[in-house]
């Protein structure tokens, strides 16, 4: 993974000094909260329902064990012993004191981490496929480009006060695990007819009040022009994006208002003027960063180790875990292991300091010291020898990280919701917990198959409910929590926004409603048909009928 050079290190050190000084001024009353708020937001510090929430950037969801241990230390020393992994591959701590943040940032800087631009109307953490670099279907590692974009977007003098926040995601594989189509800019790496790798540029995707799937404004962008093209898009957005209405300020609104073709034209025109300027990436820099993402030295490894064969036969639980939580690796004899942060009845995406330390140790023992964060709020050990899978599974089981539910109905995304977030209208965590308990039986989960439930506690959609196969949105109806259900959303390359199926359900009845939906699916599905495909074939009618049948 990328290691800072002295330039990168100096920049964050200067930022820590700057923020320390800003905090001091605020505590001394020399600046008002109005002036201070954007500064603390741009360092990732939010004022939430109960306390300050601190969001630390995990660039493209990649961490090393030393960094993860530091996060564990921060959880223990400065917070309440746990952290929450988010749908943008970052981590949040919920109980941070403002007066501690300069010290926390200094400790983070010591391991090349920060909270820069995890909030505010600026370019946020660039997210990636959590299987980047190791996925069997990958064309090229997108993290190289995520790092290039990260540097270009950090403290960008022109784009730090945009109309609204800006999210970029990059995928390097045909199967999109990074949800690029629901980001403000999505970049999909692919080959042109000449066999060169470049980017498809997709703009205007996003969730929130007006969910939208992004539109392609350029089919193929050569790599060395990436930054100039992004600059053209951002400049167009900065100048023309609406600033009068918070709910109409994302780039998706601008693209819809002027039309994709006109928007593309405006971008191309701006780009033509800057494409051969100083933003052309020198080959030396591309190579320098590429080298840092070179794969580790893989020792030759047996693709069918006898330990695994034996354990699969001896332990149905192990076999189940292998089916759901272990994915194919591009290197024969290796595997990608997802650690489920969705234990039955647990809080999705939360991990204790003890778990984080243990995972860091496991990464060192089994995964070349590297961990990934998935936007589905799980962690990944990307480089595990297949022969180690039985031993790893034993360790993970003891830690509560081996629930065999990845991609299944138990693998629920939930935002923090009204339990933590001052923007929320309803709680999401208790719903996730009850759903998780209701569908805990692993055999039933396997029977149901691929089904992504995503829950948001408000219209801001941090739980990605618009792209859930079953999406749940918490709303406030006359002071009570109600839950609106949408079906058929999807986040990958065949992205779609879910359809609301009818009136919202009470907190008491929403879990039964989901169970009814699952029953209808099981009843009507064709051989081997996933929930999403069955829904697309059947439409809403059979589900609505059962859900809203007069009793």
């Amino acid at each position: 993974m990328y290691a800072y050079d002295s330039f990168d290190q100096s920049l964050i050190a200067e930022r820590v000094n700057q923020f320390r000084e800003q905090v001091a001024r605020r505590l001394a009353g020399e600046i008002s909260e109005d002036e201070f708020k954007p500064l603390r937001l741009m360092n990732g510090l939010y004022l939430q329902l109960h306390a300050y929430m601190f969001r630390i950037a995990i660039p493209y969801g990649t961490l090393n064990s030393r960094q993860l241990r530091t996060l564990a230390h921060i959880a223990r020393r400065y917070d309440r012993g746990y952290g929450h992994f988010t749908t943008r591959q970052n981590i949040q701590f919920n109980w941070i004191r403002l007066e501690d943040t300069p010290d926390i940032l200094a400790e983070l800087a010591g391991v090349e981490m920060h909270g820069i631009q995890t909030s505010g109307n600026c370019i946020r953490n660039v997210t990636a496929d959590h299987f980047a670099g190791v996925a069997a279907d990958e064309i090229e590692d997108p993290r190289i480009w995520c790092e290039i974009v990260r540097q270009w977007s950090t403290f960008h003098p022109e784009f730090s006060f945009l109309p609204r926040k800006f999210k970029i995601a990059i995928t390097g594989a045909p199967h999109d695990r990074a949800a690029v189509k629901v980001n403000d800019i999505g970049l999909r790496m692919h080959k042109n007819a000449a066999g060169e790798v470049g980017f498809e540029v997709i703009v205007g995707g996003g969730q929130g009040r007006t969910p939208a799937i992004g539109v392609t404004i350029r089919d193929f962008l050569p790599k060395q022009h990436l930054l100039s093209y992004l600059e053209a898009i951002l400049r167009t957005y900065n100048l023309l994006g609406r600033r009068d209405n918070l709910y109409k300020s994302r780039i998706k609104i601008l693209v819809a208002a002027v039309g994709a073709a006109k928007f593309a034209e405006a971008v191309e025109e701006e780009w033509t003027r800057i494409k051969d300027g100083p933003l052309v990436l020198p080959l030396a820099e591309i190579k320098r960063i590429e080298a840092q993402f070179a794969p580790p030295q893989y020792a030759p490894a047996d693709p069918f180790p006898p330990e695994v064969v034996a354990k699969r036969q001896a332990s149905p639980a192990f076999a189940r875990w292998m089916r759901s939580n272990v994915a194919a690796h591009r290197q024969p004899g290796y595997a990608i292991v997802t650690l489920s942060l969705k234990p039955d009845g647990g809080i999705p995406g939360d991990a204790t300091a003890e778990q984080m330390d243990a995972i860091a140790d496991l990464a060192d023992s089994y995964s070349h010291g590297e961990i990934r964060v998935s936007h589905v709020q799980n962690l990944v050990l990307p480089d595990v020898r297949r022969a180690d899978l039985p031993a790893l599974w034993d360790r993970l089981t003891a830690l509560g990280l081996a629930t065999p539910n990845i991609g299944l109905i138990g693998d629920i995304i939930a935002c923090p919701g009204l339990d933590y977030c001052s923007l929320a209208n309803a709680r999401s965590i208790p719903i996730a917990q009850r759903l998780s308990e209701r569908f805990a039986d692993p055999e039933r989960q396997r029977e149901i198959g691929e089904l992504a439930i995503k829950i948001s506690g408000c219209i801001n959609a941090c739980g990605h409910h618009h792209v859930g196969h079953i999406g749940i949105l918490g709303v406030d109806k006359k002071g009570e929590e109600f839950y609106q259900i949408a079906l058929g959303g999807n986040a990958d390359e065949n992205a779609s926004i879910g359809d609301i199926i009818g009136p919202a359900f009470s907190a008491d009845s929403v879990v039964d409603a989901v169970a009814t939906i699952v029953d209808v699916y099981l009843d009507r599905r064709q051989e081997g048909e996933r929930f999403l495909d069955a829904y697309r074939r059947l439409g809403q009618a059979p589900f609505k009928e059962k859900l809203y049948a007069a009793h």
Partner: protein
């Protein structure tokens, strides 16, 4: 309508309520209640006058209940009591 001022403490973000004498307390039961519009506005102004103590003060409605005060809005009850879900560990807040 019974109302009280709440805010977050600047230094550590803790939820606090304005008590008698301009003191800030973590317990909603100890908050100073205003029964009139004018009194509520005055309390809010007093809270806004101490930006180095608290951030974002606002008024909440409360009701008397079992000898104490309870916020009327569900959101404010969660804010006063803490998350309705168990945190993964039982570790007290630093310095608590």
């Amino acid at each position: 309508m019974s109302r009280m001022v709440t805010a977050n403490r600047l230094r550590d973000g803790a939820v606090v309520f304005l008590a008698a004498g301009g003191r800030w307390t973590r317990r909603v039961a100890e908050g100073h209640v205003a029964e009139t519009e004018a009194h509520a506005a005055a309390l809010l102004r007093a809270a806004e006058a101490v930006p180095t103590e608290v951030v974002g003060p606002y008024l909440i409605e409360v009701a008397a209940h079992g000898g104490s005060w309870v916020p009327l809005r569900y959101r404010e009850r969660i804010r006063a009591k803490g998350p309705s879900v168990d945190t993964p560990v039982k570790q007290p807040a630093p310095g608590a």
